[in-house]
């Protein structure tokens, strides 16, 4: 199995609209590949069928068996990363070997504050929502992970923190 890595500058995982996301990718392939592709994507998770949008790509034709390269994307203004009771939307960089199914993904959040927008779980005024009193044990697993402090998935996948 090929080894693929995505690193952002300073291991940053929170971005604001139209900010620049930059970093480096490195790879070590088992066999020669037609191309490598780095994609800037967002995707939805949750109860609904998955929606995916590829916002930008960088393609590396006929790459050597091992190597590295820098990348730089300007993030769009929207959509924001968010989590609700039914839907969550995440942004990611996806590094793919073509052809084949080897890929790695680096997830990050995009919003005015940098962290994902948490939709109130019930109807009401979000300013009155006391998140410290939320009983997360009753939430679905995928949502519970979202409302808990996010050291979690993003940082585990960040190669800088290995």
């Amino acid at each position: 199995m090929s080894t693929l890595e995505i690193r952002t500058r300073d291991g940053k995982t929170q971005f604001r609209p139209q900010e620049i996301i930059e970093g480096a990718i490195s790879w070590q392939l088992d066999a020669s590949a037609e191309a490598l592709e780095l994609r800037l994507i967002w995707f939805t998770q949750g109860k609904g069928d998955t929606d995916v949008s590829v916002e930008d790509t960088r393609r590396f034709e006929a790459p050597a068996l091992s190597g590295d390269s820098n990348f730089r994307f300007q993030l769009p203004a929207a959509p924001y990363s968010f989590s609700g009771k039914l839907i969550s939307l995440s942004w990611a960089l996806e590094f793919v070997v073509m052809p084949g199914s080897d890929a790695t993904r680096f997830e990050f959040s995009l919003s005015p504050s940098g962290s994902e927008v948490l939709l109130p779980v019930g109807e009401g005024d979000p300013s009155k929502l006391d998140t410290s009193k939320l009983n997360t044990s009753k939430l679905p697993a995928w949502l519970r992970a979202r409302v808990q402090p996010k050291t979690s998935v993003l940082q585990q996948r960040n190669p800088f923190e290995k």
Partner: protein, 431 residues
């Protein structure tokens, strides 16, 4: 190592649906023309044909089809003489006679036994053309069912054409600036086109594109637009009428066949009749829904006017409501703003949509009685999510208007709002 992400969603091209509905419409039209219209025209023409003595040369019950499609008809062969010349014909009626039992055609055969004399009707301009029975056949009324297929087909085509035109218009106006550029089964390269820095300023969203505006109404102050509901009362009534006609038409045919079909023994008629009860009840409910929807047309509904076509997160806009006209007044009127998630998913061949309202605010709650006017300034919380529409997942903002009417169906209308992302000037850069 993660696999490249893929989407479970699939799209149905508008062309395929138009083709599907075209087949519906063409089939229905072909059946209507060939089985009803042309026979009716021939029947009218034959009123001037000459009654002529004829001799039945043979008559028998014939069958066509097989299995469940097996049907019977009277096969009568007769001859007649015009101007000293003999002619033969097998045309019994202009209408296609088809029976699911041999009883009725046998009765016809018994009435026209071989060797009997009868009167046929001959076209004076073309003696080759004759008919034995030139009147209308009551069974032909059932052919009018084909018009339902025509209505569904034409309605479906119109719906698709209007949807495509609306989508193109929206695309041309740049409505999808924060909607997905590409939702694909397998990610593929897409050229990035970052939005301009002022993409979310008010000027970037002209009044005509983000909220459904009623351009035919009286001129409004600059920037104001009259909101249109997502479903108009008239549209709902028409849609319900079509659905009810279709449902009850189909159920009616089955019921007729079950009860009056001579081939069914008595216990089968009772069994099928009982089996059909739920379907008939649905039909009855649909009829009440149609009546209710038409009654709703007479209720005075408020006209909503917004001060801007779209509003950014953290922004505000003025909303005005006026209730005029109508024969029936709402006794209680409420106007709320709400935001909700909508997730569409498939299980097997069925598609479901789950909704979750995560924000709601009351704007007006009153018992107007007569005409009511009012206005309010609405602030959109900055910390929530802007409008977002992908194929299966949506964040929708809407105004909900509910009216309670005494001894009359209540109404609930929705007016979609477009909440744009926070203006970029309000977004600080990451340290």
């Amino acid at each position: 190592m993660a696999r490249a992400i893929s989407s479970k969603s699939s799209t149905t091209p508008a062309g395929c649906l138009i083709l599907f509905f075209s087949i519906f419409a063409i089939t229905g039209l072909a059946v209507f023309i060939s089985q009803f219209l042309i026979p009716c025209v021939q029947m009218l023409r034959a009123r001037s044909w000459t009654p002529t003595p004829c001799l039945i040369k043979s008559s028998a019950v014939a069958s066509r089809g097989s299995g469940k499609d097996l049907s019977f008809y009277p096969d009568v062969w007769y001859s007649y003489s015009v101007g000293g010349q003999n002619y033969d014909s097998t045309r019994f009626s202009f209408f296609k006679l088809s029976f699911n039992n041999t009883g009725d055609p046998q009765a016809v055969v018994n009435y026209f036994p071989p060797g009997a004399s009868a009167t046929c009707y001959v076209n004076p301009n073309d003696p080759n053309e004759a008919v034995l029975i030139r009147g209308f056949q009551p069974k032909a009324w059932s052919q009018l069912m084909s018009l339902l297929f025509v209505a569904i087909g034409v309605g479906g085509i119109l719906w698709q054409v209007l949807s495509v035109r609306a989508a193109k218009r929206n695309e041309a106006l740049g409505r999808k600036s924060w909607q997905p550029k590409q939702v694909s089964a397998a990610p593929s390269p897409v050229t990035s086109t970052p939005l301009p820095a002022d993409a979310f300023s008010r000027e970037a969203f002209p009044a005509s594109i983000n909220l459904k505006a009623d351009s035919a109404s009286t001129p409004l102050p600059a920037g104001e637009i009259v909101l249109k509901p997502t479903a108009t009362p008239a549209g709902t009534a028409c849609g319900l009428t079509l659905i009810t006609l279709f449902w009850n038409g189909i159920v009616g045919v089955f019921l007729w066949q079950a009860i009056f079909g001579a081939q069914n023994p008595g216990f089968m008629r009772v069994f099928i009749g009982l089996f059909m009860i739920p379907f008939v009840l649905v039909g009855v409910v649909l009829i009440f829904a149609v009546i209710s929807s038409y009654a709703g047309l007479f209720v005075a509904r408020p006209t909503l006017t917004a001060s801007a076509a779209s509003v950014p997160l953290g922004g505000s806009f003025d909303l005005r409501w006026d209730t005029k006209g109508g024969l029936v007044r709402a006794q209680k009127l409420t106007i709320n703003i709400e935001a909700r998630e909508e997730a569409q998913y498939t299980r097997g061949t069925d598609t479901y949509t789950d909704r979750n309202v995560f924000y709601t605010r009351e704007i007006f709650d009153g018992t107007p009685g007569g005409e009511v006017n009012g206005q309010s300034t609405l602030a959109i919380p900055a910390e929530l999510m802007h409008s977002f529409e992908a194929k299966s997942n949506k964040i929708l903002w809407a105004l909900k208007v509910r009216g309670e009417v005494a001894r009359w169906p209540d109404f609930e209308d929705e007016y979609r709002l477009t909440v744009t992302p926070l203006p970029l000037t309000n977004v600080t850069t990451t340290p």
